[in-house]
Amino acid sequence: MGQYVLEVKNTTKDFTGVRALDDVSFNVKNGEIIGLIGENGAGKSTLLKVINGIFPTGTFEGKLLIHDEEVNFHSPHDALRKGIGFVSQEINVMEDLNVAENIFVGHLAGDKKPFIKQDEILKKAAKFLKEKKINLEVKTRVRMLSIGQKQLLMIARALSWDPHILILDEPTSALAKDDVDNLFELMREFKASGKSVVLVTHKLEEIISLTDRVVILRDGVNIDTYERKHYNEGRIVTNMVGRTIKSMYPTRNVQIGEEILRVENLTVAHPKIKDKNLIENISFNLKRSEVLGLVGLSGSGRTETLQTLFGQYPLLSGKIFVNGKNTRIRNEGDAINNGLCLVTEDRKENGLLMLSNIRHNIVLSNLRKIMNGLFINNKKENDVANTYMSRLNIKAQNNNTMVATLSGGNQQKVVLAKSLNTDPKILLLDEPTKGIDVGSKNEIYNLINAMTGMGISIIMVSSELPELLAMCDRFIILAHNTTVDELSKSEATQENVMVKCFA
């Protein structure tokens, strides 16, 4: 057996028009923890999906070797059987099964036995969790677990297959301090038993304290690999970012005005879980031309707060004041009529009509604007669409281009155009730069500044803390589905914010 448990050789993966991986090679030795870092969009997720069989063999160029033997994965299950345990960043559990069933799903009955024995599974799971020092109760219905516990559960599930390699994609982003320590311990033990861990993370301190080697990806290219003894924080960061990003976040010089929105003690019942609240006692205010950041871990209630403001959940209690007036927002139509507009995180699920062209997407949010009596006026429609296309610099042949053929950045601009077309006073942005390239991000930041210049106020949610810190005037900290603190721009540093989020 050679020294490598996994070798990825000269892998190239193209999406329509975008090269996500360009001739990337990546090796994992037996018994090491290897870090994989890079900016969003650097190709980390794509590389993991290649290793994990989500992109089946044949959809990319290059070779995969496990223990010096070439393998062809047709599905994630193939990868699992070959000893690759993958824990995705997104929570991916069966909410209505218990912990034990979730751990052993896929091999519940054991090998080649036809029936499932419930008590055996519970016993096996309890023993397994004790062995791995994972603190979960086997009979608990998974719906009742916190995000962090679900993350641990997913790790336990991957371990239950007894893998050679454990791939963890940002495993600590939702974990509390104790759980993080436990997880690190678990990774070290795993390594001590001669197996390997691939750790994908944005946190440099995790790389420094845990890994034996670190591989840096940038724009789909393998930039560099460092051995532990050559670790140098500054150089890793420079390599990762690859260019000066001083101008990444454009400065804004806008006079912030009077209060335009105030929410008091917003509480919303969880639509699926009894006696649980989606958000609790959320209070904050927003001023004209201000960019307000809602900061919190995923699952802290940030997205839900935006959705509630947009009328997607009925209030259990609390009040919303728009321009000082107590306002009831029962549905999305009410929200739009009151000058609010929501840009959602997921373009495909919630952002665009994928079967339609740019024009139809942009005008949809405000059909009244283009009506001429009973009928749609083609000229008005074209005018509206073309105005926004040029104002937002949407790159396409014309407004007839199908949105499905656009790049992520241009799609996001169509989503923004659609929102601006409602003539909003308050724009709710949920992860406005998720999954788009650096250039488009910069354009979106410029657009945010331009909008505040027009008197629009913005509430922004983002998982990228640097972006949030740079773009917002003020910060509301959310934790455990409620507002816990407020920070001014000068108070908000990366450390400061993270400490409050975990409080």
């Binding site: 009509l353 079967l355 005008v363």
Partner: protein
């Protein structure tokens, strides 16, 4: 010289783009197989293109075609209704009974029947949209209820309409053959045109497409998608009511066996029409072509003296094929960006 050449090229290019444009229109891709089918049918049996046969096709299709319009709108917004055939039977029986047995004035009987159809259809819509019950389950249940009601009202038989007040003129209207066609045919075409304009030219049409394409997006754009979805059931109910009244006018009886298989005919026509079976795409002109095609296939099978059981099998095969074509088309539009 070069001027002339560039002009020639320009003409050639515009010619090409026109051809390209024609072929990129969705309806064209449906017309071609229809034409092929018609030619094939004529070769097999020259009787097919006899004006009387073509007129018969036109008359027959306009009945269930009306119902297919409603079905198309329901499918456009991402729902389904498999109860339309049974509902036609129930409304026909109810209408006949209202006129002939309960002796209600004709206009009252007509309005009551249409109102009843709207009510039944809206109940389905409400269960699907508000109570979030699976559309197929809901409408299968509704189909059983309607079929059962029609059998109960008639003892699994039929009601003769003739004793109804004012039935003479009414039946005359139903059985008239203007231009060898029928008034039904013109009513059907009128509705096709009206709904084509509604779909393509009004905000309501845009809202229908948006709701069917992605109801999350539509809702975020401030569209009340629940109301849009239920409205398609209301329209469908109205059309079912009108079709039922017209059917009784033509046949002079209300039978509990009416409408059998109409839902499948309608759905198949919708699928052939290129109205995506998961919502969001298609047009009424496409539907018209789909309806013509289904009726032609039926007619050809009869001319070929293929028995009913075989017809039913072929209908099933056609449906599956059209669904596959629909999925392929959808995937092509969405491209490889779907991960």
């Amino acid at each position: 010289m070069s001027d002339l050449e560039s002009k020639k090229n320009k003409i050639k290019n515009t010619g090409l783009t026109i051809v390209k444009k024609i072929f990129s229109i969705q309806e064209v891709s449906i017309i071609i197989p229809v034409l092929a089918l018609l030619i094939l049918a004529t070769i097999i049996n020259p009787m097919f293109v006899h004006p009387l046969n073509l007129a018969a096709i036109a008359r027959r299709m306009s009945m269930w075609g009306l119902v297919a319009i409603g079905e198309a709108l329901i499918i456009l917004t991402g729902n389904f209704d498999v109860s339309v055939g049974a509902m036609v039977a129930f409304i026909c029986v109810f209408f006949s009974a209202a006129g002939a047995i309960w002796q209600l004035p004709l206009i009252v009987a007509i309005l009551l029947s249409i109102l009843l159809a709207i009510t039944m259809s809206t109940i389905s819509g409400f269960c699907i949209v508000k109570l979030k019950i699976n559309p197929i389950l809901t409408t299968i249940a509704m189909a059983f209820i309607c079929r059962g009601l029609s059998k109960a009202l008639t003892n699994a038989h039929f009601v003769v309409f003739a004793p109804a007040k004012g039935s003479e003129g009414f039946l005359k209207f139903g059985q008239a053959e203007p231009l060898s066609l029928s008034w039904n045919f013109f009513i059907f075409i009128a509705f096709i045109i009206i709904f084509q304009i509604i779909l393509k030219k009004t905000d309501y049409g845009r809202k229908l497409y948006a709701t069917g394409d992605n109801s999350n997006v539509a809702r975020l754009a401030g569209i009340n998608t629940d109301i849009i979805k239920i409205s398609t059931f209301i329209i469908s109910g109205t059309l079912i009511g009108i079709a039922s009244v017209l059917l009784v006018a033509k046949e002079a009886v209300g039978s509990s066996n009416y409408g059998t298989g109409w839902e499948i005919l309608a759905i198949a026509a919708v699928a052939i029409a290129g109205i995506s079976l998961v919502g969001g795409a298609g047009s009424m002109i496409g539907l018209l072509i789909g309806v013509i095609m289904m009726q032609c296939i039926y007619n050809i099978l009869i001319l070929l003296q293929i028995n009913q059981h075989m017809q039913s099998i072929l209908l099933g095969v056609i449906m599956i094929l059209s669904v596959i074509i629909d999925l392929k088309r959808r995937n092509r539009i969405l491209g490889s960006k779907l991960e």
